[in-house]
């Protein structure tokens, strides 16, 4: 038993860990990492999407903008937050707050935890594709430092929409993938039950992705998780804040530009 526990979790086990209900969500992260958080609401076009939290806070006494997915902590909250499946209004709120951060020269920190963008009638009618694309385009040109951390599930364009950052980190048991393993298996093999098998070939664990150079770092999930996150944010913010805005934007462009599949494990 102890031997089994000591073993590295499989990719599928990591997916389950990333989805586990007791796992810290954005509320805990904001509470533990920032001070004086003030939440802001609404996309100024249609409505407020609770599946995205955004606002201004202090990090080590410096104002920052924090944006991330919210899944909710109990059934009522889950439903209100649509289980972290964001609608166009959520991405548009995020974009509005990022542009505001740029105006006031605040760094942007994003926390990613979503099963994917919401596949619904209203979301499609209101331009889900456009909202995701515009969010990525906006992040690619922000003249302030941008740091992304995948804290749980990072599924599909719904995750990437707020992850176009200067540096992208993952928690040890977080996963980051093109699609949920169920969706992947059902597209490729027409059988969602083959999700565990899909997890192995998808290479969605933090450890695999670090090996491919697709993410910049991993934060262990032990007792020191919050202090390690704090240290990473402080170090990265200090490093990125020294760069001139045009250098930041140019380097962020290259960060994604160079991903051409040449990296091999």
């Amino acid at each position: 038993m102890s031997e089994a526990l000591a073993k590295e979790p499989t990719a599928y086990e990591r997916v389950q860990l990333a989805r586990k209900s007791g796992r810290p969500g954005i509320t805990e992260f904001i509470h533990r990492l920032f001070d004086d958080f003030i939440e802001m609401h609404g996309d100024r076009l249609y409505r407020d999407d609770p599946s995205i939290v955004g606002g201004i806070a202090l990090f080590h006494n410096r104002p920052v903008t924090v944006i991330g997915h919210r899944k909710g902590k109990n059934t009522a909250e889950n439903i209100r937050c649509n289980f972290g499946m964001t609608s166009p209004e959520g991405y548009r709120k995020g974009r509005r707050l990022m542009e505001q951060a740029e105006k006031f020269k605040r760094p942007v920190i994003t926390l990613i935890d979503t099963p994917g963008a919401y596949p619904g009638i209203e979301a499609e009618s209101n331009g889900q594709s456009n909202a995701i694309a515009e969010s990525m385009a906006c992040m690619s040109r922000l003249r302030v430092p941008v740091i992304a951390i995948v804290t749980g599930e990072g599924s599909s364009g719904g995750a990437l929409a707020i992850a176009v950052a200067d540096t992208v980190w993952m928690l040890e048991n977080a996963v980051y993938s093109i699609l949920s393993p169920e969706g992947f298996a059902s597209i490729l093999w027409k059988d969602a039950k083959r999700a565990p098998e899909a997890c192995d070939c998808m290479k969605l664990t933090a450890q695999d992705l670090k090996g491919y150079g697709l993410i910049d770092g991993i934060i262990e999930e032990g007792e020191l998780m919050y202090s390690d996150m704090d240290l990473m944010l402080a170090t990265e913010l200090e490093r990125l804040s020294k760069k001139r805005p045009q250098v930041l934007v140019a380097e962020r462009y290259q960060h994604f530009r160079k991903i051409d599949g040449l990296y091999q494990q």
């Binding site: 889900q128 990525m136 690619s140 364009g157 990437l160 980051y176 093109i178 599949g261």
Partner: protein, 280 residues
Amino acid sequence: MNITDVFTEKRKNLTSLLKLRRTFEGGQRECPKCHEMAETARLTETNWICPKCHYYFPMAPKERIALLCDENSFRELYSSVHSRDPLQFPDYGKKLAENRKRTGQQDAFVAGVGRVGHIRFAVGVLDGRFMMGSMGTAAGEKIVRLTEYAAKRKLPLVIFSASGGARMQEGLFSLMQMAKTSAAIEKFKSSGGLFISYLTNPTTGGVSASYASLGDIILAEPDALICFAGPRVIEQTIGQTLPEGFQHAEFLLEHGMIDRIVERSRMRQTIYKLLKLHQM
């Protein structure tokens, strides 16, 4: 050149188009919409539009380019860019080999530079026949190279999309092409470049949710399916049947997501007019 002169140009253009079409295999094709059989020879004359119900069959990139560009003006770029199968995904190599053989292309995106009514422009076509036009590292890389080429030479950029989304077999590498292409298009647009995104049936998932939705001008072919999540996924999620016409070009036009629906017969004329207007 007067705007109407483009039709004389078009007639000249037809010679090369017909020549090209003769090389395609003969026989019949079933229309997926009305299920009538149509002679391939007849379909080449109608620009791959079903004579019975006006369903738009997919067009091979070379055919679309021939219909759009001035005769002999197209020069292909980056044709050797290919996927290196970054995840060594089971059976992917075999699938790529089959698709390469069938289409004569290395991957789903054909890029190049051409002229329409003597106006030079950068043009790309995502080929729905190559692994459903899915965007992996090869297509992403070519889209970005073409965009950077257009930026450097101050050319307008026109991209035709037809895609099932990001390519599953390249995992997160494919997902990252969404960020990469969106960033390139954004940079191109902010430097003053004109990007016309032309959506054809179907434009979905990671392609619809990245560069393809970022056109200064977004055009679509009639009845094209354009969406983030496909109709089947939505039906499974919400457990109800979708309204008629949902996620088709006409629906997007009504909801303010695209500028115009353009019939294939007016494609060349429309692109020419738009490029001309941006030269003034």
